[in-house]
């Protein structure tokens, strides 16, 4: 009899425990973006040593042969020069795009001179950690001046934007993710649209991105380049290369183009975060 009573008591306690946990879960679900990102930032900070160790081990394994042939100092210098070169190439590419657009706008509307960006070099630590989202982790955080929603680029084009930022690490949502939406314009055309990733690309569409909300009669040609449009108050500045048109099709209400990203997002290792304008 006493055992039955004790058993019932334990059952009641278990039910109370589950109810308390459910209330806690409901409370968590009410958190806004700010507190949720703060919690995720703490989590990123906790796993950071493991991720960095893994990245270092991975890099060491990848460069064993190279290390046997070269001295550490030469390798470091080479890396530094390589980085500088990429930074200059990126700045150059942006300047050319901006210059072309700037000249056009100056002549037409007398717009003021566009500025150049501050680029923060970063290394990708890990990639594609989840099944449904396309993200990477980079080795720069708020201590380096990175904030949420900053554009991430390489010398060849757009990579994505920062999401949650931890002390020394940040999550970057790639261009191939459906939630990374970019206002874009078509080279040599007045056509504009929204570029985003595909939720789950079909076989054969792997790595592709789409441009939607084009006019039905846009009739884009294969290879036409797509640039960021630079919407006022938006995340991405104007003139960054996104990719090139692969196919175009007219849908019921709009036109949709499949694009080949300018950056090989599956293999890119070094990126730049645009942290400001000069």
């Amino acid at each position: 009899m006493a055992r039955t009573g004790s058993h019932a008591h334990v059952k009641k306690l278990n039910i109370v425990l589950v109810l308390v946990v459910l209330v806690g879960a409901v409370f968590l679900s009410t958190l806004g973006v700010g507190p949720a990102r703060a919690l995720q930032s703490i989590f990123l900070g906790l796993v950071s040593p493991f991720v960095r160790t893994g990245a270092a081990v991975s890099q060491q394994i990848g460069s064993v042969g190279e290390n046997l042939k070269t001295l550490d100092e030469i390798e470091a210098e080479n890396k530094e020069l390589h980085l500088k070169n990429r930074e200059l190439l990126t700045t150059n590419q942006m300047l050319r795009d901006i210059e072309a657009e700037n000249n056009k706008l100056r002549q037409a509307l007398g717009y003021r001179e566009r500025s150049v960006f501050y680029l923060l070099p970063a290394v990708i630590l890990s990639r594609d950690a989840s099944t449904w989202w396309n993200t990477v982790k980079i080795n720069r955080g708020f201590e380096d001046g990175v904030e949420s929603d900053m554009p991430v680029v390489t010398e060849t084009g757009l990579v994505g934007k920062t999401s949650t930022v931890a002390k020394n690490e940040s999550l970057v949502v790639l261009l191939t993710d459906e939630t990374c939406r970019v206002a874009a314009k078509v080279e040599g055309s007045v056509e504009q649209g929204i570029v985003s990733g595909l939720r789950v690309p079909s076989v054969g569409e792997s790595g592709a991105i789409q441009m939607a909300f084009l006019s039905k009669g846009a009739d884009l040609q294969q290879g036409q380049k797509i640039y960021t449009a630079g919407v006022r108050g938006g995340v991405f500045p104007s003139g960054i290369l996104i990719g090139a048109v692969k196919t175009f099709r007219a849908r019921a209400l709009d036109g949709q183009a499949l694009l080949e990203p300018a950056v090989d997002l599956a293999s890119v290792e070094d990126v730049f975060v645009i942290v400001g304008v000069k």
Partner: protein
């Protein structure tokens, strides 16, 4: 004391698994399905520990899962924090129905349980994303990413049971304790 130690080991294993999962690429043959160790480790915990310990494990696993996969889209958290806690508590309660059989030495129970829990987790995650975004997309890639991850969990599960079995043998515990830590 032994149970507490085993619980701490499982907590650490789950934490390390989150990092390990990041380093393992998607399986090309399964159209990008990924290794997910965490649901299998949770299932093992639910089959072996007491009810309060299972709930604590569900809170821990659920919270870390939500934080690991949290995505902000259009200024909102896409899948609200806390849903994984509810998921793991719910499946944990259901899994405990298999505990007597697991206790009797049917170690293979961890395999189907891991397959179902892993696949259901990804299916629910995808359903929630689809509800948030513009309609449901379903193709063979979606199928394989869900089913493939389940199958991979089924491959991983026997190793978890095997490790515990071996640990039980090394410590010289009775047959029941070789499988179940409770």
């Amino acid at each position: 004391m032994k149970h507490a130690f085993a619980f701490v080991v499982l907590i650490v294993a789950i934490f390390v698994s989150f990092t390990l999962q990041e380093w393992l690429p998607g399986i090309h043959s399964f159209l990008g399905a990924r290794w997910l160790f965490v649901p299998t480790l949770f299932c093992f915990g639910a089959l072996t520990f007491s009810f309060p310990a299972m709930v604590a494990l569900a809170v821990y696993t659920g919270l870390l899962t939500d934080l690991a996969y949290m995505n902000v889209a259009a200024g909102q958290v896409e899948i609200a924090l806390g849903w994984s806690i509810v998921y793991f508590v719910t499946v944990g309660i259901l899994i405990r129905g298999f505990q007597p059989a697991y206790t009797r030495g049917h170690w293979w129970i961890l395999i189907p349980v891991s397959v179902v829990v892993t696949a259901a987790f990804l299916a629910l995650q995808f359903a929630m994303i689809s509800l948030r975004r513009e309609g449901l997309v379903f193709n063979e890639v979606v199928f394989w990413r869900i089913a493939g991850a389940g199958l991979l969990a089924g491959i991983f599960a026997p190793f978890v049971s095997l490790v515990v079995w071996q640990a039980g043998q090394w410590t010289g515990g009775p047959a029941r304790q070789r499988v179940v830590l409770q």
